[in-house]
């Protein structure tokens, strides 16, 4: 009959009380495990967001540096003339095959049949441009090459259920990028470079496509397979790797193929103008502006400026996220202090009550030769046993309910137990689920033992100081 089994018997002697105490303690232990779980999710999310952000900025920077001699020209989608107003003036002709109510220049305009999305909300307008109107650009002095590009999104309207509401939006399945497959592709950075399977597109290719990894999943096809795009069959010659964290949906094909298959013969959506050297970029851009005022001319410099703006904005938002994190951590710390105090107070009062109730027993034990230390360890052990059992129960509850519990206690955790952090639209949001890992379980168990000890130390000390003569007298 050791001190351990005596402790166990004493606890199980008053079953209802033990149950209630363990219940209360496991409740606080489940909170104790959920708070760090929530904070860890928040920390990881902030870290991931930082990584996502710096990756995006680095990627954009690299592509800009690579294309310092590049000028991008496209038509600006206009917000003027909502509804059925006539197209704005300018040397612009609408393609014959565009329905009347989809005139370029209208809200949501510039939609080429068979094309979804684009419009005023996209980065590039994807407004159809008549190819023949821009042949004069080549003759601007300093221009080395002009690459016409047609970009058409293919997708479908989807209804999404979210928090009990439904939203309809266009979800692109893939984006066709028509590139003139001439010697230009060898000299200028137009095609993707990181080929992961098969080969890249080559000058003279036709009837073939270069897919992104995302595309291979959508078409369920790989190198050598035939896929059907808008009723026409193409052979997959290569796959390129994703350049960043977000999935890339763009597939590349010959411009002529793209124009044919999307029913856009003679039309493009942008022009890439390459200058002889980076010093002549601004002169060429100015000349482009005066020659074609309707064009939106973006140079690499401008994009660099935009990037810097973006970086500034994102850095501010990231700092915001970090501030939120440290505020959340401070809140969590306060909550932990409260829970720790509550837990040890529960143990304290329960054990004080027990000691009081068992004064006679303690007096007897001392009278028959138990030392103060024997008594002390007996009661500390009982306190630890209570809270350790509660610890196990609390950990079990916490493992299941941590996402929910932490959503109540930690402001950055949403009701389904996720921490979602986003900065702007271009960056993949960081999403982290609140989980309880084995290390946290172990630490919580350790904490439960520690709190049991902490809470029972004073009552046990009181017990050890009980004077047997008095304990017997006032039984």
């Amino acid at each position: 009959m050791g001190v351990l089994s005596r402790a166990y018997r004493n606890i199980s002697r008053r079953k209802i009380r033990a149950l209630l105490v363990i219940l209360a303690l496991s409740f606080s232990m489940s909170i104790l495990i959920s708070i760090p779980a929530g904070i860890t999710a928040n920390q990881t999310a902030t870290q991931n967001l930082t990584v996502n952000l710096s990756e995006t900025i680095a990627r954009t920077e690299a592509s800009i540096n690579q294309a310092l001699t590049q000028i991008e020209c496209s038509l600006t989608p206009s917000f003027e003339g909502f509804g059925f107003s006539p197209p704005p003036s300018g040397n612009f002709q609408r393609p014959e095959n565009i329905a009347d109510n989809f005139m370029p220049g209208q809200f949501g305009g510039g939609r080429v049949p068979g094309q979804f999305g684009g419009g005023p909300f996209g980065g590039r307008g994807n407004v159809a441009m008549n190819e023949t109107l821009y042949t004069d650009i080549k003759s601007i002095s300093g221009v080395a090459a002009v690459v016409p590009i047609l970009e058409v999104s293919q997708g479908e309207n989807q209804t999404i259920e979210m928090f009990g509401r439904s939203f309809t939006r266009m979800v692109p399945n893939y984006i066709i990028e028509g590139i003139p497959l001439t010697s230009l592709v060898d000299s200028y950075p137009i095609l993707p470079t990181n080929i992961t399977a098969g080969r890249n597109l080559q000058p003279g290719d036709s009837g073939v496509v270069l897919l992104s990894e995302n595309n291979t999943r959508f078409f369920n096809a790989g190198v050598g397979d035939k896929i059907e795009i808008l009723g026409q069959t193409f052979e997959v010659v290569g796959v390129y790797g994703s350049t960043g964290v977000s999935d890339v949906m763009t597939l590349y094909m010959n411009l002529t193929d793209a124009q044919t298959v999307t029913n856009n013969v003679g039309y493009i959506t942008s022009l890439l103008v390459f200058t002889n050297d980076s010093s002549s970029v601004s002169d060429v851009a100015a000349a482009l502006n005066s020659l074609h005022p309707e064009l939106n001319v973006v140079t690499a410099q401008q994009r660099l400026d935009q990037l810097n703006d973006m970086r500034e904005r994102y850095t501010a938002e990231l700092q915001n996220a970090q501030t939120t994190l440290s505020q959340t951590q401070a809140t969590a710390l306060q909550e932990i202090v409260v829970v720790v105090a509550a837990t040890s107070l529960i143990v304290l009062f329960v054990m004080l009550y027990t000691v009081r109730e068992r004064t006679k027993e303690i007096g007897t034990l001392k009278a028959i030769g138990f030392s103060n230390r024997n008594i002390l360890s007996q009661f500390v052990l009982e306190g630890i046993m209570l809270s350790a059992v509660a610890g196990v129960v609390g950990i079990a509850i916490g493992t299941i309910a941590a996402p929910f519990i932490s959503s109540i206690l930690i402001p950055t955790v949403n009701p389904i137990g996720n921490v979602v952090l986003r900065v702007g639209t271009g960056i993949t949001p960081a999403v982290n689920v609140v989980t309880v890992d084995p290390q946290l379980m172990l630490m919580t168990f350790g904490a439960s033992i520690l709190l049991g000890m902490l809470g029972s130390l004073y009552p046990a000390w009181r017990a050890s100081k009980i004077r047997p003569a008095e304990a017997m007298r006032y039984e």
Binding site: M1, R9, E361, G369, S371, A469
Partner: protein, 276 residues
């Protein structure tokens, strides 16, 4: 004379109640020899419990000396006292004070727990003691399944666990009916005779006191009177020197002569029990 196991010299105990001083014991002297069976009587508040608590090292005298088994215990610190209580003293209480969540054997094992004995040694010693107090077969019963008399037997077995120099019993029969009272006194008397256990019991009950060999009357914190009890008749006398033999030892501790050992009659108790 045989060996003195307990010597109390000039013990005074003063309790302070607010501004008032209560002299529970005043300059009390007492000697108890090894193997004696002593009763302390006295009116309520005369200091019986106080004296017993001081003898049992759970209370300290205000002044005076207490020498237990040749150790002066009055000035020992708590760090030493608990060992004295564990090894030299066996307490028997009026309300038994068994731990309700332990069975009889486990209760008897309690004092042995911190004594370096193995689990097996503790268990067999506990069973042996329970058999001695007449509770064979009841080892695994918890106190609530035992009668009051049986509970006090378990308490006596527990008091004997570490072979103490002295058993101190404060009103051991105070919570018992007449039949159980007789049996407990008989048990104590038998232990005294057959094991040579030194016993001091406190009682209000003249009948119980008369079953001991020496009755001390306490009044206002002093021993005022002393009287022989009936138990003396059960004790053996050394045929050589007339000394009272403490046990069934074959050799007189006083003169060293070999005595004629006869079993005590115990007729006294049988008569009394039969009376009820």
């Amino acid at each position: 004379m045989s060996e003195t196991v307990l010597k109390v010299e000039g013990v005074t105990k003063v309790y302070t109640l607010g501004k008032r001083n209560v002299h529970a014991l005043s300059n009390l002297n007492l000697q108890v020899k090894k193997g004696e069976f002593v009763a302390i009587m006295g009116p309520s508040g005369s200091g019986k419990t106080t004296l017993l608590n001081i003898l049992g090292c759970i209370d300290k005298p205000t002044s005076g000396k207490v020498i237990l088994d040749n150790v002066g215990v009055a000035d020992l610190p708590e760090a030493e006292l608990y060992k004295i209580r564990r090894n030299k003293i066996g307490f028997v209480f009026q309300s038994f004070n068994l731990l309700p969540y332990l069975n009889a054997r486990e209760n008897v094992e309690l004092p042995m727990e911190n004594n370096g004995k193995s689990k097996n040694e503790r268990q067999s010693k506990a069973k042996e003691l329970l058999a001695m107090v007449g509770l064979s077969g009841r080892e695994e019963h918890r106190p609530q399944r035992l009668s009051a008399g049986e509970q006090q037997r378990v308490a006596i077995a527990r008091a004997l666990a570490n072979d103490p120099a002295i058993i101190l019993a404060d009103e051991p029969t105070g919570n018992l009916d007449n039949k159980n009272k007789q049996e407990i006194v008989k048990l104590l008397a038998n232990l005294n005779l057959t094991q040579g256990t030194t016993i001091i019991l406190v009682t209000h009950d003249g009948q119980v006191a008369s079953r001991t060999e020496r009755i001390l009357f306490l009044s206002d914190g002093k021993i005022t009177r002393e009287k022989n009890g009936l138990h003396l008749a059960n004790k053996l006398m050394c045929p050589n020197c007339g000394n009272k033999l403490p046990t069934t030892e074959a050799k007189c501790p006083n003169c060293g002569s070999i005595s004629n050992i006869k079993e005590p009659s115990n007729s006294l108790f049988e008569e009394e029990v039969a009376e009820d």
